[in-house]
Symmetry: C2
Subunit: 233 residues, 2 copies
DNA sequence: AGACTACAAATAATGTATAATCAGGCGTAG
DNA sequence: CTACGCCTGATTATACATTATTTGTAGTCT
């Protein structure tokens, strides 16, 4: 069986410049995406340096990198703040996914080999065997399922964009669990998608992926709204 | 008449942290996008610091920012290199544009006011008056034309993405000039687009934008191929 | 009193300088 | 051809200067 650990598509993980830099970058990024750092929270360089046992230089660089990726916002002479991973943000990126993923999927239908299809089915089997019992595992399997379809796409830019968005959504949805309705929907859509690929029906596959991503986005948004309502009420 | 200087959509220009930082960032970025820095060229921090009369810190931060935006690639312990703005790169981003811009345009059709349409027409008049005589001016007007349609879109992420891609394409195409065929096509498509918006025909507007972006991308790619062939032959 | 302004101190970003380490590349000796 | 050692430059670490923003205080005006 193949590796079922969620991995970036092609051969390129941003992988920060080096040891300290990479670790600071990843730690801060995780803190943002997972919600440990609150929206709009100030990111004071000296504090972060102390917390992560490094000097200020790597922290400053990590923040700039995060700025370039959109996770951190700078105001001149007032430093960095956490970009809020709020409902708007999630909606924005899943809507972009709805536009991009169908195109990636359409291409895949024309390129899929028997091995690809076998692997998709193996993963789907595994997803069903797991049946959401282990949410982390489900997330990894599901990500892998889509990665197989997108990772060989010639448009590296689009694939990279997809992967970045995927990571954010994955981190956000870790906070929630799947509703029964959504579980059934995921299973059904994956199976249907595999069938489309087998049939070589690119258009239907694209439409299905659009629907799948749309559904996934809606699901997360509803969970976020519910959580917020619970917090407020 | 309104401002015809190309400007970012909403109120947010990345605008690096401060004077020196911003200028280093912009200068390096321009050098990359305009082709003054060649593909895969090494970006030695000390050199850049000297050339731009600053210390190494701002340079390193600018490079990290550029990395986050995808213009620079890092290898651990071997520093930064220019990400090649080659045909693949251009194709990648214009293809993404073909997917995203129609969605932005579709939304605009449902939101356009009489003032918006008047402004689009004014700009198109201006474009026709200029008639590609001043290419820079044409580029600014054309960018403004599209900015009007996209800048108020609720999906800030998508609008920002569009703007970043637009800047790259603008810089690349500065090296070339418009073929007669392309000139006519631009005029026709803009006028048709305005008509669609007046009619409230969102679907046709979206299709037209897709075609328009597709055509623009193809045009640039062909120019790039021609230039490369000329260089090689 | 309440509110507003001017100025001073505190906080932190930004830029500069310099050193210490470390990894990779290159040339030379064996 | 391989091993050793040197050189370049990346990366990290400090320390400090400069600048901008924020905050607080005191004095003044209404």
């Amino acid at each position: 069986m193949t590796e079922f650990k969620a991995q970036p598509p092609a051969g390129l993980e941003p992988s920060a410049a080096s040891r300290a830099g990479a670790s600071v970058y990843e730690l801060i990024r995780d803190d943002i995406v997972s919600g440990r750092l609150k929206a709009n929270e100030r990111l004071v360089v000296a504090e972060l340096a102390q917390r992560h046992r490094t000097s200020t230089n790597p922290v400053r660089e990590a923040l700039q990198l995060l700025r370039g990726e959109g996770f951190v916002v700078f105001s001149p002479n007032r430093g960095a703040r956490v970009r809020p991973i709020d409902q708007d943000f999630v909606r924005d990126i899943y809507e972009i996914g709805v536009l991009i993923e169908p195109a990636l999927a359409r291409w895949f239908v024309g390129m899929a080999t028997l091995e690809d299809i076998a692997e998709l089915e193996a993963i789907q089997d595994e997803i069903e065997r797991n049946n959401f019992a282990d949410p982390i595992r489900h997330s990894e399997l599901d990500t892998r399922f889509h990665t197989i379809m997108y990772e060989r796409h010639y448009n590296r830019h689009a694939a990279e964009l997809w992967w970045k968005h995927r990571e954010v959504l994955r981190a956000v949805s870790r906070r929630f669990s799947f509703t029964l309705a959504r579980r059934a929907q995921v299973m059904r859509e994956h199976r249907e998608l595999i069938q489309c690929i087998k049939d070589g029906d690119a258009e239907r596959a694209a439409a299905l992926v659009a629907q799948h991503v749309e559904g996934s986005g809606r699901h997360i948004l509803e969970q976020m709204r519910a959580a917020e309502a619970a917090r407020a009420g």
